[in-house]
Symmetry: C2
Subunit: 220 residues, 2 copies
DNA sequence: ATCGGAACGGAACATCCGTTCCGATTCACT
DNA sequence: AGTGAATCGGAACGGATGTTCCGTTCCGAT
């Protein structure tokens, strides 16, 4: 019995686990991957049975991991925010002008479908998500501060503005991926030009959205 | 009997119609208005019974006008495109620099909720919509041409780009209307600055989206 | 005043989907 | 091998929602 490790959340690497639990763990990630794909393709309205089929398991197995559909969506959401936070941190570490735009561009070409939470999800924000959100927030602040100093984005730009940008540049059209990406990059160029213009004109933005508005209020 | 006028689509003004049909017509617009309000508030997932209740009629009456929910949504969509076309035409007639941004700004503060078609609506595009779309297209081209001449938007900008802009500036957050509008205007400023910068830098955009991509491919 | 039919409202129906439940299956341990 | 517990898959349940159907209401013509 694994009473030696008191880690209540079973530790990361599932490589070596008592036989049966490995399968469970494998199923777990399979479900996550499948859910991401299905929800990306069909939106959050997709049926749980579709997710189960895509993952090659029964619906029962899905519900064993995630007590409800909303929980599954939320897990996906948290995961997405964590990834975004990692990316932001990495870009911030490069310390080069244009970090904001670079982050957004990367995020666009990376993020698979909607990592957002459906409206009306009034569930209290789970700790994991809150933590990931904080990390993302901090990393974005760094990013923005760097670019403000570099003079490529106007002062007063907030981390929430960047999220807004990201939301707007999310695939919203049933277009082939490549085409959608091209559109978004074209659009991002525009915004980049705008931010640089405002920055060099000495514009100071005001009344930007607050970060707190963003946590847990996304939808698709 | 009204056999004198062969107009198969009963003419516009419903003011004077044989008694009972007036009520029908009144109900018809009531349904449209109600549907717009309900769908705007709850998204296209709202129940038909809600629309009926909001309109103060029974579900049966809704289904008499619109054989299916999709038909109702489509009617709304067509209506929205028609309004957008009218607005675009009006702005174009003013012939003043900044027409594109002005159009988008107006459209943002005007358009109530989603006037877009749900994904996967594979129904053939109805003639009304096709016509409205053509009118919108033409008006936007005029708008863009004016602004390109005025040097406030870069050459190569297409009518479809403007639609893209519009789509991005659509309310996507469950924020109070005023707040959302403020955000969008802030964002529009950015894009405006970007377009002006690109224009005066002599940038010529390429590979813009084609208009045809846009007709009938919107969703919410 | 009476009649016919157009329009109405809402109960009833069918379907879809989230969720629950349970018998079958599989693995660890003896 | 045999046993038991954990896990699995999917049928069954319940609620919500799109759609149909029909008895009722109301207006205009006779």
């Amino acid at each position: 019995m694994p009473s030696s490790t008191p880690a209540s959340p079973p530790d990361r690497d599932a490589a070596a686990l008592p036989g049966r639990q490995r399968e469970a763990r494998a199923n777990d990630t399979a479900i996550l991957v499948a859910a991401r794909a299905v929800f990306a393709a069909q939106g959050h309205g997709a049926a749980m049975s579709d997710v189960a089929r895509e993952a090659g398991v029964g619906v029962g197995s899905v519900y064993r991991r995630y007590p409800t559909k909303e929980a599954l969506v939320e897990a996906l959401h948290t995961h997405g925010v964590q990834e975004a936070a990692r990316l932001a941190r990495r870009v911030a570490d490069e310390v080069a002008p244009g970090a904001v735009v670079r982050f957004v561009a990367c995020q666009i070409s990376t993020a698979t479908g909607p990592l957002l939470r459906p409206t009306g999800a009034t569930t209290p924000i789970p700790p994991d998500l809150a933590r990931a959100s904080d990390e993302l927030h901090e990393a974005l602040e760094t990013l923005v501060a760097q670019d403000v100093r570099a003079g490529v984005v106007p002062a007063g730009l907030t981390a929430a503005d960047v999220m807004q940008l990201l939301l707007h540049l999310r695939p919203t059209l049933p277009l082939p991926r490549a085409q959608a990406d091209a559109l978004h990059l074209r659009y991002l160029d525009l915004v980049d030009a705008g931010m640089r213009a405002q920055a060099s004109a000495g514009v100071v933005l005001e009344g930007g959205p607050a970060w707190d508005e963003w946590v847990g209020t996304w939808h698709d």
